[in-house]
Symmetry: C3
Subunit: 365 residues, 3 copies
């Protein structure tokens, strides 16, 4: 068994990554965007579409609920997140799996002096997979590492880890982009604006890593000076031939090139990290400064087919006035989160092929 | 789309109420007692009886669990209430729906500065109905209003809102009265005593509103001077030809007219509202003053068929000595809560007719 | 109806115990180890094995999930315990029952001044069984007593009560010992070391009580002077012809008789009780003093077939170095907890015979 530092290093190395995170040719630990190749992404999106369409009819729903019948999934959420937790639970439910949620680690045996390894291993005795959200960047990876050494390893899916990555959020975002660009040759070669504290926004970072799997997209980052994209991300994008530009305000960018922009990904500033409370937000959020707000007055600068997205929750940065814009995809993102997470579960348990086949036979794919 | 103030005003107006709260001839938003006509109430009670009787046999239980199979219901409970929450969850479970409970809004994205509208709309993406309890009088109505403007509205059922109404509690109370008076011509024309802080007791208020749908009942309110029935309620009762009398102590009323009383509805004084903690009770409850206690010594003043009810929890106002009285219906109320809530779910989703038909075919109705 | 003191006294008297706790020849209230006779234990273990083996195949899993379909089980856990709670929930899930967890009694109606009797009786309206963990020694017994007087009693299963007993933990421990000694004539006549604060460790106490049902085992207690086994336990063991020895340090015992020891049951010192916080552990746990630690250096003193067990969570008392010892059964205990609790549910609801028959027909028993 390798130690945790080697496991982490292996996750960062292209050659070792898939050995550590895949089993039997499918994802086993779902931790970072970089682990997904272009063809993995396409298959996941097709699976999500199959599930979404099968869910429309009683027979399809019954079929879906048979897929993971008897499977048990643990949501281990140390950071509060009703939205993401419920999205995973709904996804599991659609496939017939039962879920349990542990939100407050203070009520768990961690508080009795137990190690993370013991706690995770104990939980793995009762469950077939663990979905975890944690304020520490490495928690999900550590859980995966601890389990991979036991005789009875189970999949670990990260639902957001510290400031590092939020891999399933980026999968739903790509799925939404792919859907939105279905008539425009897909995601390849598109101009995407990403607004926010990129250096510490795990959704933004994961999306950028995932965009690198597509053919020559351009990413325009708009971020406060203190939170511009980190070097590791920029190097990765460069290595994957993604053209990037950095901006410190949205207005000038849109005024100069608004009509070339295909999609704008707005995010909330991550002020909870400033308060030293472990990334747990509170009601004191004041919203974004105006340089990072998509103001209603920018509307004439954008094409009507420009896609507008936000991972939610939002404060002031994407005002309600945009809701009737033809490209406003925020509510679709929420639904897509459920579909792509169901696709991730199906893929992890090796049932995605069966789902796509059924959908194809019914001419739903 | 109308604004919220117009929506609220419409709920108060007989002509608009059903347009706003009903869809396809059945309740879609279940918010206030006044929205139910006499025939609605009778149908709901018949549905509850059908469910109760079908549940007694394995085949009936399997049939019931097929009714809402694959449906997902969210219990959004900002005010703590194990009893009511579990009653709704058991009701959903009986019909095969799955439920999720969110109790602590601090762990939800509300705390990140999100609007109620965004939060409710997000949850609506994962669920087929929302059941909500909140310390604010208007919360459920506001959620219904927010959803009614979206392309994907889902039903909202109030499980108690502030000091205003607790509509499903009153439905179970009426169901219990109807059962108790089955051999005495039903609820019409009965004398009902309602004891408690009526002005701020949502269970008492909702029951009074619902009694107004029956033929000339008489209501005797016994309440502290500070919490006598509010004018809106009294006007409504007068308009519906309900005879009401007001009393400030129970003893004199029972000594004068005890043998005419058909039912006594005892409630706990709502002292939690006095402590400025948003209607969240604590252990400091001292119970009711003696004028509002149904003392064991009153027993000779009542008929043996007088019905005794309480919405629970109780402190001192309905002592254990009454439990062997033939009219003691408190535990039956608890069970009936589960049946009537299942009937509400069935009605909201348009499955109540199928349930009654099945029960009728099996000669259970 | 008898009062609670008589109920408690009856639980302590061999002749009355089964009348109070059994119904229709099977356990109805599962509260203390002493209520199980040798043949009860053997049947429970056989049922657990049947469930464990049926669960390995799709058909077996589907059969198991039909056993308690439609049953609803309440986990009423006033003391935090993710591990035990999830074990019970997984067990119920395996048999198709649905479960609900109430962890924080402050959010329940207890806080409104309600009696335990009312609260438990209300919950019993929505559920088919209650599993309860509480910091008070008598809570489960009190709940059982309160329900036994109602017309609609439901089973109560203790999941750990104060410092007194943890009956299902001892059942899983015996099941693990029986499995481990399958080729060595079973549990009869074995030498078992029990390390810990025996006087206030409910797992250790319940195991000792249960061992007394076997033929002449020997128990070697190793405990701090302040928490040696209580007189009631020692008298019971003597009456059942269990040879006991008392020790204040592990090292000398193992050096003198290590090669005679068949099993070592290590437990965490129960320091949470020292802090006056109602048995709720916190992160301040410092672990055990060295006299109560199974040090890696003792390894040469033990036989390679010596069984090593721990109820978890552990701090320092059973170091990770032991994990590759052939007798290390800790992770098996965790899985066995799920199987034996499923067997308890099946037994309480009278479905255990059907399960064993099915397994026997498939040659799994």
């Amino acid at each position: 068994m390798i130690d945790f530092e080697s496991f982490k290093a292996g996750m960062g190395a292209r050659e070792q990554r898939r050995t550590l995170l895949q089993r039997d040719g499918r994802p086993f630990f779902v931790l970072i965007s970089q682990q997904f190749l272009r063809e993995d992404i396409e298959l996941l999106c097709d699976t999500a579409t199959a599930i979404r369409r099968l869910d429309r009819h009683v027979e399809g729903r019954d079929f879906l609920r048979s897929i993971l019948r008897g499977y048990r999934i643990m949501n281990l959420f140390a950071q509060p997140s009703t939205r993401t937790a419920e999205s995973f639970i709904a996804a599991a439910d659609k496939l017939g799996a039962s879920t349990r949620q542990v939100s407050d680690l203070r009520t768990s045996s961690f508080s009795k002096g137990e190690s993370v390894e013991d706690a995770v291993r104990t939980l793995s005795s009762f469950f077939d997979a663990i979905v975890t959200r944690h304020q520490e960047d490495d928690f999900a990876a550590r859980a995966a590492w601890a389990l991979s050494s036991t005789g009875r390893a189970i999949p670990v899916i990260s639902a957001g880890c510290g400031k590092s990555q939020h891999v399933t959020q980026s999968l739903l975002d790509i799925y939404t982009l792919r859907y939105s660009f279905a008539d425009r040759d897909g995601v390849d070669g598109k101009d995407v604006v990403i607004i926010g504290d990129v250096a510490r926004n795990r959704a933004a970072r994961s999306l950028a890593y995932l965009l690198a799997r597509f053919d020559r997209p351009r990413i325009h980052f708009v971020s406060p000076d203190a939170f511009t994209p980190d070097d590791a991300l920029l190097r990765y994008l460069e290595a994957h031939e993604v053209e990037t530009t950095l901006h410190s305000a949205l207005g000038p960018l849109l005024r100069a090139q608004g009509d070339q922009i295909d999609a704008i990904y707005v995010t909330r500033l991550q002020q909870e990290w400033d308060r030293g409370n472990n990334g747990i937000p509170d009601a004191g959020d004041r919203g974004s400064a105006e340089d990072f707000v998509l103001k209603p007055e920018y509307r004439p600068l954008l094409r009507s087919d420009c896609v507008l997205m936000h991972p939610l929750p939002r404060v002031n940065e994407l005002p309600a006035e945009w809701e009737d814009h033809p490209g406003f995809m925020v509510w679709r993102q929420v639904r897509n989160g459920m579909w792509i997470r169901a696709a991730v579960f199906a893929s992890v348990f090796g049932s995605d092929g069966e789902i796509r086949s059924r959908a194809a036979r019914l001419r739903l794919l």
